[in-house]
């Protein structure tokens, strides 16, 4: 972009507005640069799709990468992939940003200076040759092929060894499975058949083992169309109401770390009700605490547990999900084992809980091994440390002494592709390709092999990690296979036809019949330990994984920073969740900064008082507090290096569980008011819908046509009008959306998808604080039906959660309703927004002058205004390469909003017109719909009676948002179903 481009020029002359016309001749001449040799599969202007695999977390979902002119511009789920079945989570959607990220290393660096690959690799080789035994490799698993290469080099070259490091090593669950079932593997949980799901703080909907897969299963298990009784009930057990917990019917607010004891007591109580034939199982649960004792230990009321026991006893298919790594303490193995035993007692092993036949192929090392390596480094026994796919400097607890140990290492070589805390410490940086540029594969579970293939030529002078190790291996005289990583991948996939088939399909998927296993006799040995807490404070420090930032790797992606956290609706910073009681005790309000001290260190964070957390706990999300990175740092949109929020991992002790796994939940903390106040980007101030029926609920009784006593509002919500009418009489289409709030889990995948598809800019923290986010779709979170209280506060924040008992959290996706009689259309003085013949509420950016009258008059407040020139300023570096060429980049001073992905509608028109037919149902899939893991969103032509958008409308639940204003929306909501029934009442 030239210094003074046409836009700026116009702005300048706009001051003397009369002369704005002088801009005519200043259009820059563009160049057309065609291919030298045009690949036959590529046609300019038409997307080419490649199948690949998402590397944002270990779940390894299948991808369809759609590329334009050789540039990936959108990631979508691979429908053939058994893990995600065509869906994708928020993290997966924005993973595309890594490739174009401004933080990327543009080439190898040695001692902070750019260098050549030959030089860099020569240095590495020399250092390794000097002392092979003192060379260690530290990093996450990269899938069978690349792991194979690395292991071959490590073994053949006589290197010191390799430690597979993942901050959330699933070792506790693995150890528990081995203890209980004799297989050191991660069980596979299948909720699709369940009618009662017990969530022991597993976070299975956002941060669990396989969120997309489990969310889809969960939605299927609750599908009101197939389960008139409401299907699966969800009971969440844990100290804090998580996003997963928000979808539960009831919440048992057990003290942190007490889940294990609770699960065991439940198992025993249920067993005594049902009677268990398995002797080993009996033995295992024999010395379980009594229910009452467990209730005391967990600080929950006995009645709720007894009800739960009844529920489990009467349920047909119970699935209990073990705590996620961050939610389990020093007794993690025992806790996981207890949950597995509960499953065994409930008889769901083999159906709901599948135990793999063999152990996990390349499991992450338990934390103890990492600590051992750190100690070795401290002892000066490590001369070369090769770090890849991990950021230990950030994610290891400061108590581990890693950063000090790093000083003692002769040569630290980092293979990071984006700059991170570890790579800046490294003397040698050999940047890796990003997943979209590299070859590889993944095997999330036995039988599911997923292929990673490049979809763009490497943008920078980077080299695949596999090739680096191959070069190293050959240098060390190891007999590694010939060729590059690609050749080896091809060979591992059988080469030739089968490889090509895998490339097309995205992998080879043959679900092994992982299934039943019987309880080992020694299972009892695993259980019984109680959780130990270090530190002296009054509060248990819950360091929970952020829904989007994961172990912190997500913090580099601006979308993950800007999309508000599903539970708190906070973004761009760390915050400390404390209970309202605690807040009163400390004399702090929302935004006041508190100091959290654990003895291992202290951080400061603004508080977020809520009802959804125990009084004896303080919760901080893991993932913030980076000191490098264009988006990960830069607090307050300042300069890089200024940490954004705080890194809670630094506060934790280097504690381990019985199996040597890392114990995240292992310390208490003391809170002190610092007196400072921090303005935080809170995108939703009120969770009280004041009885306006924005997010409605219908009781099962009402659905059954019975009398709805405990819930005001009509059973069958009346249809004030027919949305299909609101388009040109002759037109075959009236586009509409049907959103099933009962399936919505609040995961925000739709928001991320919309950001990427529609070139929606990131506004940054300072503007997010002013509610200037540009997201076209937002998920509003309300508690209950609400009343007319509140709204007077000077410093407002959501405040209607209650601790424990019945959970009534309502998620409602809010986006442009494409009203049949839209308030925004009539007031626009220049007709920049108008109603199209096919019933869209169109927005013509280049006609808009920015009076913002439409935004005032929009009753749904879904219109977004470009306060600055986001179009040019907010795609730094190469990020502008990922802009969708089918969507206009909005300039300064214009209004924008959800367009129902009109570019996809226009695209679908082409074949239809060529073949002289109407667009078929399902030909158009909006970005949000495509991504939604639970299939809550359906787009289609409301004038087609057989279209899914109509057939999915359930008259008993359907309603329009604010229909009393007669805006005649094109979006039909299906009310959430209230499944609370006596057994889950408390």
């Amino acid at each position: 972009m030239p210094d003074l481009d046409r836009r700026d020029f116009l702005k300048l002359v706009g001051l003397g507005a009369g002369t704005a016309t002088a801009a005519g001749c200043s259009d820059p001449i563009e160049k057309l640069v065609p291919y030298v040799v045009q690949p036959e599969e590529i046609t300019p202007g038409i997307a080419t799709v490649y199948a690949s695999t998402c590397r944002e977390c270990e779940a390894a979902c299948g991808l369809h990468v759609s590329t334009r002119e050789g540039r990936p511009i959108k990631l979508e789920g691979n429908p053939e992939h058994p893990i995600n079945r065509g869906r994708l989570c928020a993290r997966g959607q924005v993973g595309i940003g890594r490739t174009y990220h401004p933080d990327r290393y543009e080439g190898p660096r040695a001692d902070g200076q750019a260098t050549t690959w030959d030089d860099a690799e020569a240095r590495l080789l020399a250092a390794v040759q000097a002392n092979p035994g003192g060379t260690w490799v530290l990093g996450a698993s990269r899938g069978p092929t690349i792991d194979g290469i690395i292991d071959a080099v490590v073994a053949g070259g006589g290197l010191g060894g390799r430690v597979v490091y993942q901050p959330f090593d699933g070792s506790a669950l693995r150890a528990a499975t081995e203890a209980v079932f004799g297989v050191a593997a991660t069980p596979q949980f299948d909720l699709s058949g369940a009618d009662l799901v017990l969530d022991f703080d597993s976070g299975f909907l956002d941060t669990g083992l396989s969120p997309v897969e489990n969310a889809a299963q969960f939605a299927a298990a609750r599908d009101i169309a197939r389960h008139p009784d409401g299907g699966a009930r969800l009971v969440t057990i844990g100290p804090r109401l998580t996003m997963t917990g928000s979808n539960a019917e009831s919440w048992i607010p057990a003290a942190a770390g007490s889940e294990g004891a609770l699960a065991l007591a439940l198992a025993r109580a249920v067993a005594s009700k049902r009677g268990v034939v398995d002797a080993a199982l009996d033995a295992a649960i024999a010395k379980a605490p009594a229910l009452s004792a467990a209730a005391t230990a967990a600080d929950v009321d006995l009645a709720s547990l007894e009800q739960l026991v009844d529920a489990i006893a009467h349920a047909h298919a119970v699935v209990a999900l073990p705590p996620n790594p961050a939610a389990a303490g020093t007794n993690a193995v025992a806790a996981n084992a207890a949950v597995l035993l509960l499953n065994a007692v409930a008889g769901s092993v083999g159906s709901g809980v599948k135990i793999p036949r063999g152990p996990d192929p390349r499991a992450a090392a338990p934390y103890a091994e990492v600590q051992a390596l750190v100690d070795a480094m401290n002892a000066g026994q490590v001369s070369v440390l090769i770090v890849h796919d991990a950021n230990p400097q950030y994610s290891l607890p400061s108590a581990s002494g890693f950063s000090a140990a790093l000083e003692k290492v002769g040569l630290v070589a980092s293979l990071a592709s984006l700059v991170d805390e570890t790579s800046v410490e490294a003397a040698l940086v050999l940047p890796d390709h990003t997943p979209l540029e590299s070859w590889g594969d993944a095997e999330p579970r036995a039988g599911v092999r997923s292929l990673v293939q490049p979809t763009i030529r490497p943008l920078h002078d980077t080299r695949a990690i596999g090739d680096v190790f191959l070069v190293l291996g050959r240098g060390l005289g190891v007999s590694v296979p010939s060729g590059t990583t690609r050749d080896i991948v091809a060979a591992n996939w059988g080469g030739g036809a089968s490889f090509r088939a895998a490339l097309v399909r995205g992998g080879s998927f043959s679900e092994s019949s992982a299934g039943h296993a019987s309880v080992e006799t020694g299972a009892a040995g695993a259980i019984g330990a109680a959780s130990q807490f270090s530190g002296s404070g009054d509060y248990t420090l819950i360091a929970y994984p952020h829904s989007y930032l994961g172990d912190g790797s997500g913090a580099a992606l601006p979308w993950m920073q800007e999309i508000p956290d599903p539970v708190t609706k906070l973004s761009w910073r760390s915050w400390a969740e404390i209970s309202k009681t605690t807040a009163e005790r400390l004399g702090v309000k929302f935004g006041d900064v508190v100091r959290i001290d654990t003895g291992n260190g202290a951080i400061e964070a603004p508080v977020y008082p809520r009802g959804g957390i125990r009084d004896d706990a303080v919760a901080v999300a893991i993932g913030q507090g980076h000191t490098v990175g264009h988006y990960a740092s830069m607090a307050g949109d300042g300069s890089p290096g200024v940490a954004r929020g705080a890194n809670v991992a630094a506060l934790l002790p280097a504690a381990t569980d019985e199996g040597g796994g890392r114990a995240w939940l292992a310390t208490r903390a003391s809170l002190t008011k610092s007196g400072a106040f921090q303005r935080v980007a809170l995108s939703q101030w009120f969770d009280n819908q004041r009885g306006r029926g924005l997010a409605r609920q219908v009781s099962l009784l009402a659905l059954a046509g019975g009398h709805d006593d405990d819930h005001e509002g009509p059973h069958v919500i009346e249809q004030p009008f027919e949305r299909a009418n609101d388009a040109a009489p002759g037109d075959p289409y009236r586009w509409g959306l049907t959103i099933d709030n009962d399936r919505c889990t609040g995961c925000s995948a739709c928001i991320a998808a919309c950001y990427v598809e529609n070139n929606v800019p990131i506004v940054g923290e300072t503007n997010a604080i002013k509610h200037r986010e540009m997201n076209w779709i937002r998920i509003e979170r309300y508690i209950g039906d609400g009343d007319t209280e509140g709204g007077e506060e000077r410093r407002p924040h959501p405040d209607r959660e209650v601790l424990g008992g019945e959970v009534d959290v309502r998620f409602a996706a809010m986006l442009c309703q494409h009203c049949g009689s839209a308030p925004c259309e009539s007031v626009c003085p220049v007709i920049a927004t108008y109603h199209t013949p096919d019933g869209l509420n169109a927005m013509i950016y280049n006609r808009c002058v920015g009076t913002r009258y439409c935004a005032n008059n929009c009753v749904y407040k879904v219109r977004r205004f470009n306060y600055f020139d986001y179009g040019y300023d907010n795609w730094p570096g190469l990020l502008s390469l990922m802009l969708n060429p089918d969507v206009t980049v909005r300039g300064q001073g214009v209004m924008e909003k959800c367009s129902f992905c009109v570019q996809r509608i226009q695209l679908a028109r082409q074949p239809a017109k060529d073949e002289g037919r109407d667009i078929r149902d399902g030909e158009i899939v909006t970005a949000c719909q495509q991504s939604c893991p639970t299939d809550a969103i359906t787009f289609g032509n409301t004038r087609d009676a057989k279209a899914a958008v109509n057939t999915r409308v359930d008259e008993r639940r359907s309603y329009y948002s604010l229909h009393m204003l007669n805006t005649r929306p094109g979006i039909t909501y299906l009310a959430q179903v209230k499944r609370v029934s006596e057994e889950s009442h408390s």
């Binding site: 706009g14 009539s826 007031v827 007709i831 920015g850 935004a855 604010l962």
Partner: protein, 455 residues
């Protein structure tokens, strides 16, 4: 209303010969245009500086983007629209005085109508800037004007904002013409009493006025007709402006009472502004002989009266909100009085309804300093009225999940201050170069006094 008591000064003149009296009035009134007084120069300098800094702010805002203003969703309209409505309102008193009172032959208007008309013109000139300052793409302002263009696109005649475009332009044209026509005979007087370049300029401006009976006939008829044209504008313009809100759907805006409510408020605030500008200028230029307490008292009566109308409107808004039974309306109005913006609401109510009650006392109606303070208070109150209507309504509308707060930014405040300086600049230049009182009309009055007195 009590019949006008013979203004003492006028009575004196009545004794002397027409010629002398003529020249005395001329001298008194044209006095300010003779020399440059230091206070005047100082004020002008301040005004120009104020305008300068506002222009700088506007340039900054246009180049960097509207984000430099304090907008926070869901508040998309703020200080610029508030100030726009404020200045449009100010203008109305002038038109009322010069047109309606003219038609009603209310003689007490003669001394103040020139100043009021000037104020109208300058207020409208100020107001007309704000829609442009407000829009996001200033350099595309011409999209708002309906003219045949190669794009084949037209504007949306359904949009109240477009009605504004028409209303403002009409109002501006009429006010300027009316003002100028009334000025012609006085410019002629100024011409006769000036020399050199000034004389030439005045000569051009007065269109060769000779004061022949034919010219007088034409002049009177023109003024009569123009008053006829201007009269409906007093009601229509601010009604249209009020529809910007009334035609909208936001709770707190969507009210049928808005048109009369706004018009009354406009006249209320307008009269206050007349006092605010006339009191000092009368003092500075020693025109006590012509602008007497009698004028101020009558204006005070008007202010008191319109204050009650405004107060009624406030009350009625709350009643309807409660009576409608619409939760959103009730919430909006409850939070207006007791929510985050309670301060501005109570400023509005006390300044517009409570303080004006002082005018029940004749002593205060004729006590100039009090009137001046009161008029300033009322101006502030009227600005806050618009602040309350716009900000509180948008910040607490239908979607609680999207509620937000708004705080003005420095840029907005500097442009707001600039608008007052802009207005003051015009007014200062006006009183320097033109008679602030309608000489001819005062003479008319004087002659009436002389021969047969009042009728």
């Amino acid at each position: 209303m009590t019949p006008p008591p013979p203004a003492t000064a006028v009575a004196d003149m009545a004794q002397s010969s027409p010629a002398f009296q003529d020249s005395k009035i001329n001298r008194d009134i044209l006095n300010p245009t003779r020399y440059v007084s230091l206070p005047w120069l100082g004020l002008l300098l301040l005004a120009v500086l104020g305008v300068g800094q506002a222009v700088f702010s506007l340039g900054y805002q246009t180049y960097v983007g509207l984000g430099v203003a304090g907008y926070q969703a869901p508040v998309f309209w703020a200080v610029y629209i508030i100030t726009f409505v404020f200045w449009i309102g100010i203008g109305h008193a002038g038109t009322l005085i010069s047109a309606i009172l003219f038609l009603f032959r209310a003689k007490w208007r003669n001394a103040i109508n020139r100043g009021a008309e000037a104020m109208t013109v300058f207020a409208v000139l100020t107001a007309a800037l704000f829609p442009l300052i407000h829009i996001g793409r200033l350099w595309k302002f011409y999209f708002l004007i309906p003219y045949p263009n190669q794009r084949g696109l037209w504007v949306n005649f359904k949009s109240p904002l477009l009605w504004d475009v028409f209303a403002i332009n009409t109002y501006m044209t009429i006010s300027i013409v009316f003002f100028y026509v009334g000025l012609i005979p006085d410019i002629a007087v100024a011409r006769d009493r000036s020399t050199g370049l000034k004389r030439v300029i005045y000569a051009i401006l007065c269109l060769g006025w000779q004061g022949t009976s034919g010219q007088w006939k034409a002049h009177t008829r023109t003024v009569l007709h123009l008053s006829g044209l201007a009269t409906p504008l007093v009601l229509s313009v601010h009604s249209v402006v009020s529809w910007d809100f009334a035609m909208s759907i936001i709770p707190g805006w969507h009210a049928t009472i808005f048109a009369p409510y706004f018009v009354a408020g406009a006249i209320f605030g307008g009269f206050a502004m007349v006092l605010t500008v006339m009191i000092p200028s009368r003092r500075i230029f020693g025109l006590e002989a012509y602008i007497t307490d009698y004028h101020f008292e009558n204006m005070s009566r008007f202010i008191l009266f319109t204050s009650w109308i405004v107060g009624y409107a406030y009350g009625m808004e709350y009643f309807i909100a409660w009576y409608s039974g619409v939760e959103a309306e009730q919430t909006s109005f409850f939070l207006r009085a007791f929510g985050p913006y309670w301060v501005s609401t109570w400023i509005m109510i006390s300044a517009n309804c409570i303080f004006p009650q002082l005018l029940w006392f004749k002593k205060l109606r004729t006590h100039v300093p009090t009137l001046f303070v009161l008029s300033v208070i009322i101006n502030i109150g009227m600005w806050f009225e618009r602040y309350v209507i716009i900000i509180t309504s948008t910040s607490r509308d239908f979607i609680p999940g999207a509620w937000g707060l708004y705080i003005p930014s420095p840029v907005e405040l500097s442009i707001l201050a600039g608008s007052f300086c802009w207005f003051a600049m015009f007014f200062l230049l006006f009183i320097k170069f033109f008679p602030i009182i309608a000489i001819t009309e005062v003479k008319e009055l004087a002659i009436h006094e002389k021969y047969g007195g009042a009728h």
